[in-house]
């Protein structure tokens, strides 16, 4: 690392970690998930950044040249479209294939797991996933053991390894040449979300809660250790930065309070506590509104999460969780897309004045930032955070 960039990396990392440890850093850290905005800013179409890894990585280089960010989330797309084409993924739709070239990718939810699959799933989840689930999800893998299925397995595995390798190399460049710090270094999910988002789909899980609650409970029990393991495996020994956990169906008003307390929370709590016992902090990315559940979330061990505020009431979050967990958020994404720089500045100033005073605060947008956010609004957010966010 060049001297200056190394110094910058250390400064930013120290700032970020101090906030998560509830301390007062030199400045309020800026952590933005710029996602598809990165493509727009760099002048690439969505099709280009999803399919062409060079452009995907280059868009982040351009972003880092243009903005002063304390931490970044890396490549502006979780998925490499070519890899999904190789296996014929049914659950993702890509620009240039199913969608217009400049539309962002979308997830196609279905009841991929059926009610009658519960028993086999609970008996041996991995075996069921390989024998039943993956063939349903991928056209190229629809007949396991066939020539096409074997080729798609090889291509898929090789593609995935290639993607990870290239991302890893890109991260080395971002850190060394731009002093860029990662927002997170691992991934996991709430067990209920694994079941609800990925396997049963929203309608499926909602019916299950009424018609086969005992199966839901048993399935959650087998997912808990899997999600703990997955979090630790993706950490690969890195323990300074948090694990990213985007949380979905626990938001108000999906489940009624009884269901939330019986199904969503106990299984999620076990995962977070186990990760923390193993030294890994969770970035509790609470998408939507979690205000009614703040008291329960406060039961988690101090500092074991960073609580991210999207539409949760920030004042309530501060009152109930402040001093126990670092808070992050919540410049509205609609403001970044449709508002004016002055509004963004005022909002950022307000957040810092009211919630950042005693440390333990990270400035961020409410949700992942898409391609329609205006550049001048992102600049206003960063400038205001730097102007008012000095301790």
């Amino acid at each position: 690392m060049a001297g200056n960039q190394l110094k910058l990396y250390e400064e930013r990392k120290e700032r970020y970690i101090a906030a998560m440890e509830l301390k007062k850093p030199d400045k309020v850290p800026i952590r933005l998930q710029l996602s598809e905005f990165t493509a727009k800013y760099a002048g690439y179409s969505y099709q280009e950044i999803y399919y062409e890894k060079e452009k995907n990585i280059d868009s982040v280089n351009k972003l880092l040249e243009g903005f002063d960010l304390d931490t970044i989330t890396g490549a502006p797309s979780l998925w490499w479209a070519g890899l999904h084409d190789a296996t014929g993924a049914r659950y993702l739709k890509y620009p240039g294939r199913e969608l217009d070239p400049d539309t962002q990718f979308q997830y196609h939810e279905e009841e991929y797991m059926k009610p009658e699959d519960y028993d086999v799933f609970i008996e041996n989840p991995t075996e069921w996933i390989l024998n039943n689930f993956l063939p349903r999800l991928h056209t190229e893998f629809s007949t396991p053991g066939s020539y096409r299925a074997n080729v798609s397995l090889i291509k898929g595995a090789f593609g995935f390894a290639t993607q990870l390798g290239r991302n890893q190399k890109a991260w080395e460049t971002w850190a060394k040449e731009y002093g860029a710090v990662p927002t997170f270094t691992a991934f996991s999910k709430a067990p209920f979300d694994t079941l609800a988002d990925t396997l049963r789909g929203l309608t499926g899980i909602m019916m299950d809660l009424y018609e086969r609650p005992e199966k839901v409970r048993a399935a959650l029990d087998v997912i808990i250790p899997h999600n703990i393991y997955y979090g630790m495996a993706t950490s690969a020994g890195e323990m300074e930065f948090p694990l990213f956990m985007p949380l979905h169906r626990g938001a108000y008003p999906f489940l009624n309070p009884k269901q939330w307390h019986e199904f969503y929370w106990p299984s999620l709590k076990k995962v977070i506590e186990a990760l923390w016992e193993n030294g890994k902090r969770t970035m509790f990315y609470a998408e939507g509104n979690w205000t009614p559940y703040l008291e329960s979330i406060a039961e988690l061990p101090s500092k074991s999460i960073v609580f991210h505020v999207d539409q949760t009431d920030m004042a309530q979050a501060k009152k109930i969780l402040g001093g126990k967990f670092c808070l992050s958020g919540n410049v509205p994404n609609t403001m970044l897309s449709f508002g004016k720089p002055d509004e963004v500045r005022d909002y950022v100033k307000g957040l810092i004045d009211e919630y950042a005073g005693d440390g333990g605060f990270i400035i961020d947008a409410a949700a992942v930032i898409q391609g329609d956010a205006k550049e001048e609004n992102i600049r206003a957010l960063i400038e205001a955070a730097r102007e008012y966010g000095v301790y």
């Binding site: 217009d100 979308q106 009424y210 449709f338």
Partner: protein, 209 residues
Amino acid sequence: MTTDDLSKAIVELERDKVMALIKERLEAGDKPLSIISKLQEGMTEVGKLFESGNYFISELINSGAIMKEAMVELEPRLTGSKQEFRGNIVIATVKGDIHDLGKNIVVMLLKGTGYNVIDLGVDVSPEKVIEVVKEHKAPLLGLSVLLTSCLESMQQTVGEVKNAGVDTKVMIGGPIINDKALEYCGADFGSTSGSSAVKFAEEVFGAKK
């Protein structure tokens, strides 16, 4: 609060009881239409409970599924008798967006309160929307969007509907809809809440009487 046993059973999400009562009433010679109207009464109550924060999406989806199952039983018996709807409403998620949770909630609430809802699904082109609104002479069109990046598509769709001179009110919905978004899109009404779609429909169809 509804007093009919069947209406109450659907509010309480008692699926077996709902199905048993339907069977019982059909055998007793009740008209399928009067049974449906009792189910709709229950669904209206479910909508109110959702609006007041006592019911959640979990109850909405479940009551919708029970209603669907009940209709499988009742619909084939409707031949001859014409179900009276309060009016036609066309609903779609705009082109470029494939999200349908919010749209489906609105569809459920509107159907529950007695409208004939023509649901075009997701990723629907402005041309298709205009064609179907004209075909059904729908006084109300509902457009849904989740992604901020698809708001432009919403604006285009509303614009094309207005330019086409179709006589319909346009309401837009989605978590990103606020005054600014409404103004940008040029729609007649916009909201983030499903139940306010029902209120707007009351205004539109009330005014037509």
